[in-house]
């Protein structure tokens, strides 16, 4: 290539660069990111994330799907658009019993499916049983385990019955750790102190059902349904083995689950434990109802657009997978008068820059959480359409506590002490430093405990105490020659922001402890597999967002052994959580939960890093949509405002009204 040609090429490249720079400079002066022309019709165009796995609310546990389900299906309660507290939906009101172990829901009489059929309590009974049936393979079934016998039914366990007397064996006779039983001791109807204390006029004179009486008998013993598992369980407990001899095994049926339609419009749910938070859980997708007739007729094809019947504010109009899902206002919906949008177009997309481009040119009106790429934050954060709210989500670092040197709590603490989380939060810009395991400032009145603050001096001391003295070198830096660096690493799944966090941690440990931890990135599903099976040494990236608005959704990550990715399990911690959940007084319960949380952070099976913040954008003309802590939006309140005077300039007012 001649010199002239080379100069020509350079000029060409330079002009590309100029265009790029000029447009980013131009957009800096604008109050909003990109165009702000409302769509012509009352149509809301939203990027909800990955392609939905299914339109069946029992199947998927993803958040992109959750938002679609909220448009299509209704439940007993719905999230409040700002606070995410439960507010009445298909249940007009509800009553807990004295210890919140049993709830009565009073359904509204004008609930209808999109095909016009009335919604009754039986639809809830069917949907709950279906979600818990093994063949449905619902990823979320575990959220319904609080319901009496839901877990053993989902696990296909059996009751044990004496063929002579017809009596079932009870759990508490064989296992002291069985929680105290709330229902067995309490009267059948103990709703006196409830919020709605008027008597159930419509139920008066009706005899108590056999089912309800049975729910108030002591918790039955359950054993694994397969012979192999059962033999194992029996061999472990000789007393049990002796008692079971000569008895028959009765498979647990869907009808045994603690859900009962008292009449067409009254539903009773009996729990296995007190559940003051239970109503808040019921807005979750797994508790939203599906149409029995359609599901039974079409099987897994029932969600196809030509068959599907729904019960939410919107119904399916067209569905082109990987392209768009169009839902339209459902005139049958009980609260159709509140619904303001004609249609919502959900676009399944996962590439963040592509999504943001679409937003900028005004082809979508809002995007899902965590869509603004790190490199764009500087430009987008200052715009008035950036939605910066507290998020019920945390970032943390898991530690494989099963191998030395990380099985020593002093070593784990040393690594925690030597991370300056304040500095991290300042650098990351949108997060808040965290020393505990629940997100800060999310759960009102929760006395969140404080963990250890940044203290590299203490970290070095503890490391020395554990047998790895940290030496200060003449140039002021540290080294820890005895520490087996080949026994630790930091793994994360390949993503720009995870990499940034990994490098930050690496630098902190290098600077404060003189230890260089190797980083290893891997593809998402490989990463999950390695972490779950504890095939990593040292540290792993972790993050969790709330399933429901209660600290327990975080604390329960360490409730069951082996599944939390750290190998840490402590029966004491489990007992503390159980005790807290038995508390009737919400304040006392929160105190005990906080105590358990303190216990957890002292054991340090993980290093808390930050409370996440929402990170998305919506056009100023989109009203009724708030950056709430779970990024879940009740769509019936969302509307397009055409008068610029009424637009949202900045984050809309989040105080509940």
């Amino acid at each position: 290539m001649s010199k002239q040609k080379q100069i020509g090429m350079l000029l060409l490249l330079a002009s590309f660069a100029l265009v790029a720079i000029s447009c980013s400079v131009a957009s800096n002066k604008e109050p909003f990111f990109g165009k702000t022309v409302p769509p012509e019709r009352n149509i809301f165009r939203y990027v909800t994330g990955d392609e939905p796995e299914s339109l069946d609310p029992a199947i998927s546990n993803g958040q992109p799907e959750a938002r679609i389900y909220m448009a299509l299906y209704d439940g007993l309660v719905e999230y409040h658009p700002k606070t995410m507290e439960p507010e009445p939906a298909l249940a007009e009101r509800w009553k807990p019993n004295n210890d919140s172990s049993e709830f009565k829901f009073y359904l509204r009489r004008n609930g209808r499916w999109s095909n016009g059929d009335p919604i009754t309590a039986n639809d809830f009974v069917y949907s709950f049983r279906r979600a818990l049936t093994k063949e449905t393979a619902s990823r979320n079934a575990y959220l319904a385990y609080y319901i009496k016998y839901a877990q053993p039914f989902n696990e296909q366990k059996v009751f044990v019955r004496d063929p002579q007397t017809g009596q079932f064996l009870n759990a508490k006779d064989f296992d002291e750790t069985t929680p105290a039983e709330p229902l067995a001791g309490s009267p059948l109807d103990s709703t006196a102190n409830a919020e709605y204390s008027e008597p159930d006029v419509h139920l008066e004179g009706r005899p108590e059902s056999e089912f309800h009486k049975q729910m108030h008998t002591p918790l039955r013993l359950t054993l694994p349904g397969d012979a192999k598992g059962r033999t194992k369980a029996l061999d472990a407990n000789p007393k049990l083995k002796a008692a079971v001899a000569g008895k028959e095994f009765v498979p647990i049926k869907a009808e045994d689950i603690g859900v009962e339609a008292i009449d067409d419009y009254t539903l009773r749910i009996s729990l296995v434990q007190p559940g003051p938070f239970f109503v808040g859980l019921l807005a979750h997708q797994v508790f939203r109802i599906v149409p029995r007739k359609v599901v039974e007729k079409y099987g897994s094809a029932w969600t196809q657009p030509q068959h599907i019947v729904t019960c939410g504010p919107f119904k399916v109009k067209t569905w082109q997978p990987y392209d768009k899902l169009v839902v339209e206002r459902d005139p049958m919906y009980w609260d159709a008068a509140t619904v303001k949008l004609d249609e919502i177009h959900f676009y399944p997309m996962s590439d963040n820059p592509t999504i943001m481009n679409l937003y900028k040119v005004g082809e979508v009106d809002a995007v899902l959480n965590h869509t603004v790429p790190n490199a764009w934050l500087e430009v987008v954060r200052v715009k008035q359409d950036y939605m910066d709210g507290s998020e019920a989500a945390i970032n943390y670092v898991l530690i494989n506590t099963t191998q030395p040197p990380m099985n020593d709590v002093r070593v784990r603490k040393a690594f925690n002490y030597s991370i300056d989380k304040e500095a991290w939060a300042k650098w990351r810009k949108i997060v808040k430093p965290l020393t505990a395991f629940t997100p800060s400032g999310i759960f009102k009145d929760y006395p969140q405990p404080q963990g250890d603050q940044f203290n590299p001096e203490e970290g070095r001391r503890l490391l020395g105490e554990a047998g790895f003295p940290v030496i200060k070198k003449p140039d002021g830096s540290y080294s820890c020659p005895k520490f087996p660096v080949d026994q630790v690493e930091y793994i994360y799944n390949t993503q720009e922001s995870n990499k940034a966090m990994a490098e930050w941690m690496q630098a902190q440990w290098k600077q404060n402890l003189g230890i260089t931890v190797n980083l290893r990135n891997m593809e998402w599903r490989t990463f999950l597999n390695v972490r779950a099976k504890l095939e990593y040494k040292g540290f792993s990236r972790g993050a969790w967002g709330a399933d429901y608005m209660d600290p327990f959704t975080f604390l329960s990550l360490f409730y069951t052994g082996g599944e939390n990715g750290t190998g840490w399990v402590d029966p004491k911690y489990v007992a503390m959580l159980d005790e807290a959940n038995r508390m009737l007084d919400p304040k006392k319960r929160y105190e005990l939960l906080a105590k358990a949380e303190k216990f957890l952070i002292d054991a340090q099976p993980m290093i808390p890093i930050d409370t996440a913040a929402t990170n998305w954008v919506k056009k100023p003309y989109v009203k009724g949509m708030y950056p709430n802590a779970g990024s879940l939006f009740p769509w019936k309140y969302v509307y397009i405002e055409r008068d610029p005077a009424k637009w949202d300039y900045g984050v809309p007012d989040m105080t509940a009204d």
Binding site: F16, N357, L358, T526, N564
Partner: protein
């Protein structure tokens, strides 16, 4: 000739089976599951999911069942990730999208590439030659994941002329940017191949004879030179067309198109075994058929080639 085609078709079958088997083996070896998430599922629920899709059956049973269903019914089964969606249905739905973009890009690449290459050859060492070859060099060295965003930046984000992404049906303005992005590299290759081929042919004896016979330059180029000069282009564009038809991962992702390429990448990230096998098999079949077509076209264009 017919025998040749039949023989080639017969070889195709074991090739596809090998491809399917290797894909199946690789995805079985890959760590992770389609259902795994940030919080590990309780063991009972994991088991329910595995039982539902028969993932805990012995490997030979799973392999045999999959192969039988494919051979016997041409049915690749149901996607694991996308509940209730058949793999065949997904391919049927996404192929037109990929094909629309691919064929347009192919035509654009052929027209622009051959024209530019021929002009460059005919006017060797002229400004035209240098100009088009510089662009071709740029086209080859600029990967589509760079070119795509640059085009979007200019024509969508700055000028607001064209939509930056998404499928808008056929035909629509949404197609313009992906088609240009996709065709750039093919265009560049074709231009270079056409130039080289033409240069060689233009110097050959039969062209000199044609000129000596007093044919017009137009006739010499179009009737004689192009036919021989484009041979290298043909052998390149056959497999290229197969890849273009079956979707291109990067372009479909940048422009969020619901095509095969997008499904392909998602299926492997999701460990969606039936979907991945279906797409791989489909791409393999298309590729083999396109190669066969190239061979036939060769025989037709060059009388010296006989099978």
């Amino acid at each position: 000739m017919l025998r040749f085609i039949l023989r080639r078709l017969l070889v195709t079958i074991p090739t596809i089976l090998v491809v399917i088997t290797i894909t199946w083996g690789l995805i079985k070896l890959a760590p992770g599951n389609f259902y795994s998430g940030e919080k590990r599922l309780p063991p009972a629920i994991e088991k329910a999911i595995r039982d539902k899709y028969g993932l805990d059956r012995p490997w030979y049973e799973q392999y045999g069942k999959m192969l039988w269903s494919i051979v016997r019914h041409g049915d690749f089964g149901t996607s694991l990730k996308y509940e209730g969606q058949s793999v065949n249905g997904i391919i049927r739905r996404s192929l037109p999208v990929s094909a629309a973009v691919g064929i347009l890009a192919y035509l654009l690449a052929l027209i622009v590439g051959i024209t530019a290459g021929s002009i460059a050859a005919l006017k060797q060492n002229s400004r035209w030659d240098y100009g088009s070859m510089t662009l071709a060099m740029l086209g080859i060295s600029l990967p589509n994941f760079v070119l795509g965003p640059i085009l979007v930046l200019i024509f969508s984000l700055s000028l607001y002329w064209l939509p930056p992404s998404r499928w808008g049906g056929f035909p629509s303005r949404n197609l313009i940017l992906p088609v240009i992005t996709l065709s750039a590299i093919y265009m560049a290759y074709i231009a270079r191949l056409a130039r080289a081929g033409m240069l060689e042919v233009l110097r050959s004896d039969y062209i000199r004879t044609a000129r000596a016979k007093g044919l017009s330059e137009k006739d010499v180029v179009i009737k004689h030179a192009l036919r021989g000069g484009l041979m290298p282009v043909i052998s390149y564009t056959g497999p290229a067309l197969a890849f273009l038809l079956t979707g291109t991962v990067v372009v479909e992702r940048i422009f969020a198109l619901p095509g095969l390429g997008n499904y392909f990448i998602q299926a492997s990230l999701n460990r969606d075994e039936p979907l991945l096998i279906g797409i791989v098999a489909f791409i393999a079949i298309t590729l083999l058929l396109m190669n066969l077509l190239v061979d036939i076209a060769y025989a037709y264009l060059d009388p010296r080639v006989r099978y």
